[in-house]
């Protein structure tokens, strides 16, 4: 009955809070194209128009006959008993056949374009790691960002997609790309961003509790901005403590809050709460005692930096044995680098002040 114990992340803190709604195109159906796959829009509206024409013909004939040939007396006979009209039947078979074959060829050609990664995009390869329920992006120069990604305008980009747990899907509506991410294999998408701005990046394949929160911001910027590496915001060990705590809090909100209670205001409490991990003794932080199971043996340990780092990178080594968290396994977060983990620890310790 776990499902009745755990709750949602706080509702006021949406990951898309500062992302503007994308503009909608002239016909009102698609977000304005911000990538290079124009043929999607072309075929979409062509098919749409064909559908409207057929719909008008079908319902027009139907409603006309219903009105014009409606039964006025109970024994009224039909005006015609025709059951065949070979030319008509040939026409309404052949014309749709031709039309759908055009759509098929157009669509297939377009999909080849989308599925064949050009050389230029291969030269600019990112990695997107999907994990319940956040995205980690690795840039060509091996730096990382979480829940947001920067790409350069007019430069083809390829994302190698991988999942560490269940199915996810990479979906950027403004770029018209979508690709499932299957655990255990790599897949990829590519596109060329053609419009500056911040766009939605959704997970489109249902992946569990916080599927709808698995969101990232896709920033399209110019090359000058790219060189500044605006995503490189992780404070180093010698940066002011406040900055590291602030970054740790932000990261915890993006990554950890979907299971852990990371502050007095967050609700989820699947994994151990962070609220009383440390107490403050003068200038020192003293970790609490905790019962864990290691190699099948229950023992008591003291929470410290090493324990937290191990719990993030290899969580099944020491499993918390306290109720109500007993028996709930965390998955590995080995895609978090040491600098980020240090900020998380700084944030955890800052909670002792309260």
């Amino acid at each position: 009955m776990i499902n009745y114990l755990i709750q949602d992340p706080p509702k006021n803190d949406t990951p898309w809070a500062d992302v503007p709604a994308p503009e909608i195109d002239y016909w009102g159906q698609l977000p304005v194209q911000a990538g290079n796959f124009d043929h999607v829009d072309g075929l979409f509206y062509f098919t749409y128009a064909v559908c409207i024409v057929f719909f008008v013909i079908i319902t027009g004939v139907l409603l006309y006959s219903v009105v014009a040939h409606r039964r006025k007396t109970w024994d009224q006979k039909p005006l015609s008993n025709v059951t065949h009209n070979t030319p008509l039947e040939v026409v309404w078979t052949v014309i749709p056949l031709i039309i759908v074959m055009i759509m098929f060829a157009w669509g297939f050609k377009g999909s080849l374009d989308m599925l064949t990664v050009p050389h230029a995009a291969q030269q600019n390869t990112y990695k997107a790691t999907a994990k319940q329920w956040f995205w980690t992006f690795t840039y060509p120069n091996s730096t990382q960002s979480i829940s947001e990604v920067y790409v350069e305008i007019d430069k083809p980009v390829q994302f190698i997609l991988e999942s560490t747990d269940v199915l996810h899907a990479f979906y950027a509506p403004s770029m018209r790309v979508k690709r499932d991410i299957v655990p255990g294999r790599y897949s990829s998408v590519w596109f060329t961003p053609t419009k500056k701005g911040t766009f939605h990046l959704f997970c489109a394949e249902y992946c569990g509790n916080n599927h709808s929160r698995m969101y990232a911001k896709l920033h399209v910027v110019d090359s000058a901005t790219m060189e500044e590496e605006p995503w490189n915001v992780v404070p180093a060990a010698d940066d002011p403590l406040e900055d590291r705590i602030a970054y740790g809090a932000q990261l915890a909100g993006q990554v950890c809050a979907s299971c852990h209670k990371i502050s007095a205001t967050t609700m989820m409490d699947t994994g151990p709460s962070w609220l009383n991990l440390f107490t403050k003794d003068g200038d020192n932080y003293v970790g609490r005692k905790r019962e864990v199971i290691e190699d099948g043996v229950t023992k008591t340990i003291t929470v410290d930096d090493a324990y937290i780092i191990e719990s993030i990178k290899n969580p099944t080594q020491k499993i918390v044995a306290e109720e109500p968290y007993r028996g709930r396994n965390m998955s590995k977060f080995d895609n978090l680098d040491d600098a980020r983990i240090a900020c998380l620890i700084a944030y955890m310790k800052s909670l002792a002040d309260n």
Binding site: T47, W74, L88, W92, G107, L167, P173, H211
Partner: protein, 552 residues
């Protein structure tokens, strides 16, 4: 037309005891629980699937209410995931798949071929009880912690979640057998029990549709059975078929699942086509346009439907060759479907079109199915699907087919054969109002979903980006109207059983054997073995004199 009752009987005063029929020929719980009469079994199915539909509908209304606000109004994300899964699973497995074959197919098909019963009556009863066990297990699964996998049970999430996936898997396994046995039964019935004179091409199209469905049920359902069994084994014994951690392949699950579930779409929709074929003809009093073409297109759809499952997986990373083949065949299946729609419209053309409630439901079907079918063509295009896949556009498309077309055809058939089944008529005026509410409510619910879908709203989201809020709210208002219409329908149909306004012998002027049989039919359907000498849908045989006597 030839009723088997002499004219004098029609003028018997209403105080006379009703003639013996299948409803009153025996009484008591046992006479129903152990009945072998296809009509009684059909009625039990009707009650069962209606309850499943109404529960699934309640879940749908909860989903829509929740989505009124971007951050959700009613539930936590986790509860929402369970509610939408319950909606999908109840609707698909307990309602849409068994609804028409189990209830109307059971009741009407043997009448139409002039048989006393289905070929294997005990198997028929077993099918019903398997359905019931499946339904009980599904409810049990809710009690045991629910399930949050979506109705598609995609691995590996369905392997990792700590919910009652095994229980619901067993429910689906058992429901599959119910479906297979029904299909088997109907195939044998159509082959062996046709009355003298009913050649293959004198079979009403509903029978053709039920026959094509039965073939699909027998051939496709075992694959689903194996798949859910493998998921259960995987969860219990970690054998590593689908679990990537054990070397399994999640995409294999998708292939298995859709190899059944795409034909299942036609298991659901072909009987609906059959109902519409009947109703369009009877209520236009005109033989069906292109009878043979419609019959063969049912079979063609049944065959091609086995070859298009991959269009559910265009984004999953199939090879380009697979994409080519699946997209091509998907467009190809549009053709027989389009032929059916055109033929129905051509049947109404220059007919004698009665605007009674079954026909209004039929017209609503024809309009909604046109939208459902045409938007399917949009999704068939590969590059467009890469954008629209797993968005609300898909949600809207398949609701136009599954709810708007299949459920509406079911309602149409229910209104059409209600007087035949019970010998009573419902309030026509209320029926027309309810039909209008359902039509308006349905379109108000799902048209906005096309728009937000193509604008990028992914499906199965408990919370969403605020710019979609107006469309979600329009959709929620539509759902409330739709719910009101359905509630009204349930009330007047039940009320008709209490008010007992007597129906005519041949309420709509049908000429197929189901209307030649007495109303309601006796236990063995016909007083004498029927002989058919006319072509099917030959309305020149309609006996206007006896219909007029019936009116008085």
């Amino acid at each position: 037309m030839t009723t088997n009752t002499p004219a004098v009987d029609v003028q018997t005063p209403p105080t006379a005891p009703p003639r013996e029929n299948y409803l009153n020929c025996s009484k008591g719980f046992k006479s129903w629980a152990l009945t072998l009469d296809h009509k009684r079994i059909g009625l039990m199915y009707l009650i069962g699937v209606s309850i499943a539909f109404l529960s699934g509908g309640m879940f749908a209304l909860l989903v829509r209410l929740h989505l009124w606000e971007p951050e959700g109004m009613l539930f936590t994300n986790i509860e929402y995931n369970q509610i939408f899964t319950l909606h999908g699973a109840f609707m698909v497995f307990l309602f849409v798949i068994p609804a028409i074959p189990g209830s109307l197919g059971n009741i009407v098909m043997p009448l139409m071929v002039g048989a006393k019963d289905v070929a294997l009556p005990k198997l028929n009863l077993l099918s019903f009880y398997l359905w019931l066990i499946g339904a009980v297990l599904a409810v049990l699964a809710i009690v045991l912690g629910g399930f949050d996998t979506g109705w598609t049970f995609y691995a590996p999430y369905s392997l990792y979640t700590d919910r009652a996936v095994v229980t619901i898997g067993m429910a689906i396994f058992i429901l599959g057998f119910s479906s297979i046995f029904t299909g088997l039964n109907f195939i044998v019935t159509v082959h062996k029990l046709r009355a003298p004179g009913i050649t293959w091409f004198r079979m009403p199209l509903f029978v053709w549709a039920i026959y094509a469905t039965a073939i699909l049920q027998v051939l496709a359902t075992p694959v689903l059975g194996i798949t859910v069994l493998l998921v259960a084994f995987e969860r219990l014994y970690n054998i590593g078929i689908f679990d990537p951690r054990l070397g399994g392949d999640p995409v294999l699950f998708e292939h298995f699942f859709w190899f059944y579930s795409h034909p299942a779409v036609y298991i659901m929709v072909l009987p609906a086509f059959g109902i519409i074929s009947e109703l369009v003809s009877v209520h236009s009093r005109k033989p069906l346009f292109g009878y043979k073409l419609i019959a063969f297109s049912s079979i063609a759809i049944a065959i091609i439907s086995f070859l298009v499952w991959g269009h559910h997986m265009f984004t999953s990373g199939q090879s380009t060759y697979a994409l080519f083949a699946f997209s091509f065949l998907t467009f190809f299946v549009a053709i027989p479907t389009a032929i059916k729609e055109f033929s129905w419209v051509a049947t109404v053309w220059k007919g004698s079109v009665a605007l009674n409630s079954p026909m209004l439901y039929t017209l609503a079907f024809l309009i909604i199915f046109a939208i459902g079918g045409l938007t399917g063509v949009i999704l068939g295009a590969l590059n467009v699907d890469l954008h629209l896949h797993d968005t609300y556009f898909v949600v809207a498309h398949f609701h136009y087919v599954m709810m708007g077309s299949i459920a509406l055809a079911f309602f149409a058939g229910l209104h059409h054969w209600w007087p035949k089944m019970f010998g009573v008529m419902y309030n026509e005026f209320q029926a027309k109002i309810a039909c209008a509410l359902i039509f308006v409510g349905f379109n108000a619910t799902f048209l906005p979903q096309f728009v937000m879908g193509s604008r990028g709203m992914p499906r199965r989201y408990a919370t969403y980006v605020p710019e979609y809020a107006p469309y979600h709210q329009a959709s929620t208002i539509g759902a409330m109207i739709l719910g009101t219409g359905v509630a009204m329908m349930v009330i007047y149909l039940i009320a008709s059983l209490l008010i007992r306004k007597k129906a005519k012998e041949n309420q709509w002027g049908g000429v197929t054997l189901d209307w030649i049989a007495p109303t309601p039919p006796p236990h063995l359907n016909f007083d004498h073995e029927p002989k058919v000498v006319h072509e099917v849908y030959d309305y020149s045989t309609l006996d206007y004199d006896s219909m007029q006597r019936d009116c008085n």
